[in-house]
Symmetry: C2
Subunit: 484 residues, 2 copies
């Protein structure tokens, strides 16, 4: 059986490896347009923060290992341009300018080991499949505005983009950066740049900082940014970016470029040596849509619980595909790494005849903003209202450790329950100590459809160095019960 995978990142490589583990007889071909596969994309901001680290530290497994050890026909530098669901082929071009790695693949192809991939002299290829996985991921949304193609304006999604940002900082001795957008990636990049003593200003059109987050908690995050000298400019529509001659004062910087960038917004202009565009991502579903495959929420490829698209032979997984939300039961598009890996495995199982369906996601997310651990799972009040629930929220401030125990820090938690059914709907938490992993208890409760009352009775661990007797989650649940 020929199992072809478009995209060699989390979902794609997880599927490829799992399929080979399930059944070594399956012929697995991965077509990846870049030269990088299997790297920790989420680790990039932390790598950029540290000049002593090589960006390639983030590569979990090298392409050659997949080829030699896992016997996967991994073809980097192969961009798929067309899926033909009727004839069951994918076709595209081998990107020129590729290095050894891609050429290795070509050699590999011509060696006849995997003669199903046919590359012609025009560097075009086509490849038949029995089962296809589309794992094309997501791409950063870059506003269609003047000047966004100037040098020094960069987004962060691929490893190559990570390398470019890091290289640019060093080559141009960047001292001042502007970040467009204030989501996860923007905030993580902000911390990375501050770690390198780069001045950071963040700007976005919307007025509300972290709009998915309860105000009191968002204020805590805002304060942390302020404490780390990050300037936040919410409510400024971006108009264009211009190249400007550097002012005299910054010319003292001998290694820097002669030109700076100027982010022109409504009522605001930000000068910077570098601009990071972090205005969100969108699913790469064009290939699928053009092939007649159904797309759904946020334009992501619509899949069922077995990750199958509207075409029986074609699966989609990772950031390009949608998922079911365990709280609403409805489709959602929450592009995160765990789901991508898990979906990749599930596709491999289904392709190999091991029926596997995924219950869905709880929307659990955790990120770090300087010393702050910021996390959420499930629905916010706004999301709960939109999903037809009757949400009640409680916001508490408590401590991360026992009464009088040294090192105890504030923990802010918001918990949402449904007045009608008593069900737990979501939790958000912010704090500098013991927040990141605490959220998981709530995530499991969401998977189990637990009521707030039942969650309040759970036997969570207690020891003075790690928490108060009543864990912040239990205190929140107890308080929420009173309001419900």
């Amino acid at each position: 059986m020929k199992f072809v995978i478009i995209g060699g990142d989390a979902a794609g490589m997880s599927a490829a490896s799992k399929a080979k583990r399930n059944n070594p007889q399956i012929e697995v071909t991965v077509l990846e347009k870049t030269l990088d596969v299997s790297y920790s994309a989420c680790g990039m901001p932390y790598n950029i923060a540290d000049p002593s680290r090589d960006m390639d530290d983030l590569v979990v497994r090298k392409a050659d290992v997949f080829r030699q050890t896992n016997k996967i026909n991994l073809l980097t530098g192969h961009r798929v341009d067309h899926i033909d669901p009727v004839r069951k082929t994918v076709s595209g071009v081998i990107l020129s300018g590729n290095t050894d790695s891609a050429n290795d693949c070509l050699d590999h192809v011509s060696s006849g080991d995997h003669d199903s991939v046919i590359a012609d002299i025009h560097q075009k290829f086509s490849c038949p499949f029995d089962k296809l996985l589309i794992a094309t991921g997501a791409v950063p949304i870059v506003p269609d505005l003047p000047g966004f193609d100037l040098p020094g304006i960069m987004a962060l999604k691929s490893l190559e983009q990570g390398r470019q940002i890091k290289k640019f900082i060093e080559a141009n001795n960047v001292r001042k950066a502007a970040i467009i957008g204030m989501g996860y990636i923007g905030l993580e990049m902000c911390e990375a740049l501050r770690a390198r003593s780069i001045e950071v200003a963040m700007v976005k059109p919307g007025h509300q900082f972290l709009p998915w987050m309860t105000c009191e908690l968002a204020e805590v995050v805002k304060q942390e940014l302020d404490d780390n000298s990050v300037k936040l400019y919410g409510g400024h529509t971006i108009i264009k970016i211009e190249q400007v001659a550097k002012s005299k004062s910054s010319e003292g910087n001998q290694h820097g470029r002669k030109f700076a960038l100027s982010v022109v917004c409504e009522n605001l202009t930000l000068d910077a040596d570098m601009v990071i565009v972090a205005s969100g991502v969108r699913p790469c579903s064009e290939l699928a849509v053009t092939a007649g495959i159904e797309s759904g929420i946020s334009g992501a490829i619509a899949v069922d619980k077995m990750l199958k698209t509207s075409d029986d032979s074609i699966y989609a997984a990772g950031d390009c595909a949608d998922a079911f939300h365990v709280v609403t039961g409805e489709k959602c598009w929450i592009p995160l790494a765990l789901r991508a890996n898990r979906a990749g495995w599930a596709v491999a199982d289904n392709v190999c005849g091991i029926e596997t369906s995924l219950p869905g996601v709880a929307g659990t997310a955790v990120f770090k903003v300087f010393d702050l651990q910021v996390t959420r799972t499930g629905l916010s009040v706004k999301e709960a209202l939109a999903a037809g629930f009757d949400p009640v929220e409680v916001v508490i401030k408590t401590r991360s450790r026992a009464h009088s125990h040294p090192g105890s820090r504030s923990v802010h938690a918001a918990m949402v329950g449904d007045r009608k059914t008593g069900r737990l709907l979501g939790v958000q938490m912010v704090g500098k100590d013991g927040v990141a992993h605490r959220i998981n208890a709530a995530a499991v409760a969401l998977h189990a459809n637990m009521s707030v009352a039942d969650f309040a009775q759970t036997d969570l661990g207690y020891a003075p160095p790690f928490g108060p007797v009543w864990d912040p989650l239990l205190t929140a649940a107890n308080q929420l019960l009173k309001k419900m």
Copy 2:
């Protein structure tokens, strides 16, 4: 209504406060034999570790606050010796040698505000009740062996015992300690003493270190003790303790005592300035048993899910009472603080006519051994076998953070599932980073009767500074599924 509570620690004071919050008209009397109420007992080892801290830092709320603000008739220094379930009275003695605090209570009693407590001239008192809560806690098991009454041999349960240990260390310039027992308290005390540069040797009759823990994980804890120069002597039956003249070498210690203690065991003698007896605790259920109330597992007072004893008017909560285990559905005796507080609240609710029943405990416990976070929830293989399950266990070693992220440490996890039903039965984890709160996700899964397969699909948080994409719990679940 007269609601009388025997014992003014976690369960007792929680019940007293909650009853008053529920209904200020209820007359609540707490009879506590010591002079201390409402303190963080679990915090004592950490307080002993730090000479600059006062033991009374651990007092969460002072007795007078309960009296004045909460309007609780709190009588310290009142030891209850008898419960008469038929006449619905408790009686006992007011302990002599008590300080102002107890005398305050007497004044308080004689003032007529709470004239139901009648103290006679012989310092005896009796007190009628409509509803009674027995919250007498647990006491350390002190072996009935020669020499255990010598000065310098101490157990740690009450705040007064904590004060005595701390005072003894300072007054006698303790440099060398022996700990009898290797359970939670012993290990926490071991860390506390090492923090004060006191040499520590631990001894117990059993050969197996942490017998409830999977061997591989117990070895990690053992190694941490070894790394901190703690000597472990398992498999030595204790025979007696003797007072011995100090050797010349230790006489150089001018502030020390002239005598040392010698713990005489089979094939081993340990010299020490101080001996901590940490051989476990037993429930204080004598009062209840003598009154004809049923006791159950481990001699604890048997209660139903509403915390009611075999007598309709009498409740028991905290370390003196048993509980249902959410995994086995059977009774268990796991004396921990969260359950005590929760049970106290539940009793108050039931006494006030708000029907409340507790689902039970998962046996979640977490403690710190130097830099190591040690935690468990649910059943070990041995316990699962005893409960009639068909347990399968997997033990994994993974990392606490993402691939290549700085600060990542080893995480050892053991997970037990039931082959017959696929159910998750228990988890144990050990590691230096991000272990303590991770266990709570598994604890919630146990409350929800989740299968290992369902738990493996939960959407746990991921960010490189806080974990690998596949959380250690998910990796363990995935591995366990393969074995089941």
